[in-house]
């Protein structure tokens, strides 16, 4: 459904999107995961025809983005990060306005608006001004506005930013329902748990580059299946530590990262008594200990050398 190849978007000399490539199948829910400023929104803006690309090829629904942007616009819906609604109008007025812009009218529009209000749990509040809505209600309305013309592809740009856990949960349910209905979705987020929970496949983006693409298991396999045991340790002691650890059960290797030793092992918890004993033998205390199962966070850390929320 979506083919992106070597996509480049520059602002002056700064490459906000730097040779990004990925493909999304029909009905797939694809996540673009990355921290703020990674290039997710820019990528989506280019795919949605809002920004012109400086290089690469994009095809959506068989239409080349550069050659036929109008056809692409008819296929896609977008849910921007901002609450892109007229808050002085009611929910129904908003939906009717956007529907009319897409050429809907009469009974068909009225029926579609009612469906979407129901989908967003806003039937009772349909005639209230959007300004009176809670953050979660606005987010839900923002989402269904992007669906008013029944698009084949939906771009969701961080649709859960700034809302409470309950409202977020309702939005995620809604997205799952939509995806289950055959809609192709590209979902950007910097929340790992959302990407893990929702997406069929994930593209990890950092500094404008796509650093990894695949489903969750594929991605984790890229960093191995080992637990990671982290604790504070002066860098100069790492060779001595890895030498000693070579004899510990399940030890796979070690490295030093930002003031901490990182030991990889099939069973991280089993390594802890050995670590404790080794530190005590050198008059050191076990400080800032973390034992992690492999997950997307560790994947991201491995790929980019920094956390998603840094």
């Amino acid at each position: 459904m979506i083919q992106v190849k070597d996509l480049v978007k520059k602002y002056g000399s700064f490459r906000a999107v730097d040779g990004v490539s990925f493909a999304v199948g029909r009905g797939e829910l694809f996540g673009l995961l990355g921290p703020n400023g990674a290039g997710k929104t820019t990528t989506i803006s280019v795919l949605a025809t809002l920004l012109p690309a400086n290089g690469g090829q994009v095809s959506i629904g068989g239409h080349d983005l550069a050659a036929a942007p109008d056809q692409v616009r008819r296929l896609i819906g977008i849910v921007p990060q901002e609450i892109a609604l007229y808050t002085d109008l009611s929910a129904r007025d908003n939906l009717e306005f956007w529907g009319r812009l897409y050429g809907l009218g009469g009974e068909a529009l009225s029926r579609r608006v009612s469906e979407l209000l129901e989908m967003a749990d806003l039937v009772e509040q349909g005639k209230q001004p959007v300004a009176d809505f809670s953050g979660g209600m606005k987010r839900r309305l923002n989402l269904v506005v992007g669906l008013v013309h029944s698009p084949e592809v939906l771009f969701l740009d961080e649709p859960t930013v700034g809302i409470d856990a309950q409202a977020r949960s309702r939005i995620l349910e809604l997205i799952k329902e939509l995806s289950g209905g055959g809609l192709t979705v590209i979902y950007t987020t910097h929340y790992l748990e959302e990407a893990e929970q929702l997406c069929d496949r994930i593209g990890v983006i950092d500094k404008g580059r796509m650093v990894a693409v695949g489903d969750k298991e594929e991605l984790i396999r890229q960093i191995g299946d080992e637990d990671q045991v982290r604790f504070r340790l002066p860098a100069e002691l790492l060779p001595e530590l890895t030498q000693a650890a070579a004899g510990w059960p399940g030890f796979q290797g070690g490295r030093h990262e930002r003031g901490k030793a990182v030991l990889l092992a099939g069973d991280g918890a089993g390594l802890l008594p050995h670590v404790q004993q080794w530190l005590e033998g050198r008059g050191l205390a076990l400080d800032q200990l973390e034992v992690e199962r492999p997950n997307l966070e560790t994947l991201y850390l491995n790929l980019t050398g920094r956390g998603l929320r840094e």
């Binding site: 803006s45 949605a48 025809t49 809002l50 920004l51 012109p52 109008d70 616009r73 008819r74 896609i76 977008i78 921007p80 990060q81 901002e82 609450i83 892109a84 609604l85 007229y86 002085d88 109008l89 007025d93 306005f97 956007w98 009319r100 812009l101 897409y102 050429g103 001004p129 506005v145």
Partner: protein, 447 residues
């Protein structure tokens, strides 16, 4: 079609926005009331003061009682302040602008009146006070016409009073031998002696007398009072002095001032929509980008037109401002003004990188343009170089256009210049606006 959808949306938003209502309508209306009460002669223009028209009357030969009654009648109407004076002083008053007009009764008016000789009344007008002098002329003309009509009816009913024309009196006519005897005698006599010149004339007069319409027409052709109207050129230092109804000036001037704020706020909404993401959402719909900017132009212009219409209507209903010689002139002036204003402020919105910068620019521009463009001070009273600078603001042309229509009562056909300038400004700027919008949108500058 989508343009209409976007215009309808903007109107719904405007109606739902209480703050916009206050800025666009409530405040201007409040100011209209204050100005109307201050300069417009009170509600319905009822009180004397500024709305009363100064008139000089010249007629030293009229009896004192008649002069007093005439002055009292005019003053009590509430429309006039009256000064009896001689012809020299009246002439000077009109030329100085102290009187909008002078009505001059000839010295021997009563004698001529009773001897049925033709009487000539004169009206001297101050061209700088065309509206008020015009009112005086209209009233005097109507009075003379009423007198002529009455005289005509009188002469039709009593044709014997045509004796002054040197003809035989009607009584003599009816008592002449032609009408002696029975009806049959008269009838036979008329038929038998039809070739006799005396009877032929009698028959003609009889027919004329029977035909009242002919008699009335003839009577109307004989005018015992004629009216001559002269424009008196202003004297020396008074040459530039133009008398104006202050409210007729202030209302359009301040309305254009408020229109600029209202239109600027509407155009600034482009920045807010961009920030909120609704502009981008529109650009991602199948709507043509040119339609987005044209719809915005039309909807803001329509809202501005609505605002001006309400203000002028209130001014007319409550304070009797002049709305010009015909509705079309005012409609075209309002339309051209609103389209030009919106095109100007849309251009400003498109070149301003942020809403805040646009805010600052519009505030400065509106205040400067209003000062030099004649919104607060009549252009005639400003130095030439200021007026020359003012020409670069669209509001200068709007003010001139409204003055033509509302102050000078001229139709747009008489003075189409300002209207054409505004139409030109609107057209040229909108072409530029469309190009800028499309270019910026194409480059992602509005994303």
């Amino acid at each position: 079609m989508q343009i209409l959808v976007m215009i309808a949306k903007d109107f719904r938003r405007a109606l739902a926005d209480r703050r916009a209502f206050v800025v666009n309508l409530a405040l201007p209306l409040l100011l209209t009331f204050i100005m109307g009460l201050s300069f417009g002669g009170g509600f319905f223009g009822n009180s004397a003061g500024i709305s009363a028209i100064p008139v000089a009357l010249v007629g030293q030969d009229l009896p004192l009682m008649l002069r007093e009654q005439l002055a009292q009648g005019l003053t009590e109407s509430g429309f006039f302040t009256v000064t009896w004076t001689d012809s020299l002083e009246a002439d000077a008053m009109v030329r100085r602008g102290d009187a909008a007009a002078a009505v001059v009764f000839p010295p021997d008016i009563l004698e001529k009146f009773f001897t049925l000789e033709e009487v000539e009344l004169q009206i001297w007008k101050d061209p700088g006070s065309s509206l008020k002098a015009g009112i005086v002329e209209q009233i005097i003309t109507r009075g003379v016409a009423q007198y002529q009509a009455g005289e005509a009816v009188y002469l039709t009913l009593w044709p014997e009073d045509r004796a002054r024309e040197g003809e035989a009196s009607a009584r003599e006519f009816w008592e002449s031998e032609a009408f002696a005897g029975s009806f049959a005698d008269v009838w036979q006599r008329f038929r038998r002696d039809s070739e006799d010149p005396a009877f032929r004339e009698a028959r003609q007069r009889l027919l004329q007398g029977m035909d009242r319409q002919t008699a009335l027409t003839q009577a109307l052709q004989v005018s015992p009072i004629t009216l001559s109207v002269q424009d008196k050129s202003p004297l020396g230092e008074f040459e530039k002095k133009q008398e104006i109804n202050l409210f007729n000036f202030f209302l359009p001037g301040f309305s254009v001032f408020f229109l600029m704020f209202s239109v600027a706020a509407g155009c600034r909404d482009l920045h807010r929509e961009r920030k909120a993401g609704t502009l981008q959402r529109q650009m991602l719909s199948p709507v043509r980008r040119v339609d987005i900017i044209v719809a915005r132009w039309l909807s803001i212009s329509l809202q501005g037109g609505f605002m001006l219409a309400v203000l002028f209507l209130v001014g007319w209903v409550l304070f009797r401002i002049n709305l010009g010689p015909d509705p079309l002139s005012l409609f075209l002036a309002v339309t051209a003004c609103c389209l030009a204003a919106t095109a100007v402020f849309l251009a400003l919105a498109l070149i301003s990188p942020t809403e805040k910068i646009m805010d600052n620019l519009t505030t400065v521009l509106i205040l400067v343009w209003s000062m030099v463009g004649g919104n607060f001070i009549p252009l005639e009273q400003m130095p030439g170089w200021v007026v020359a600078v003012g020409r670069f603001g669209f509001n200068y042309w709007a003010n001139i256009s409204f003055q033509n229509v509302m102050l000078e009562n001229r139709s747009v056909l008489e003075a189409p210049g300002p209207l054409l300038v505004m139409a030109g400004v609107a057209a040229v700027l909108m072409i530029i606006n469309i190009l800028v919008f499309r270019t910026r949108a194409g480059r992602g500058g509005l994303a």
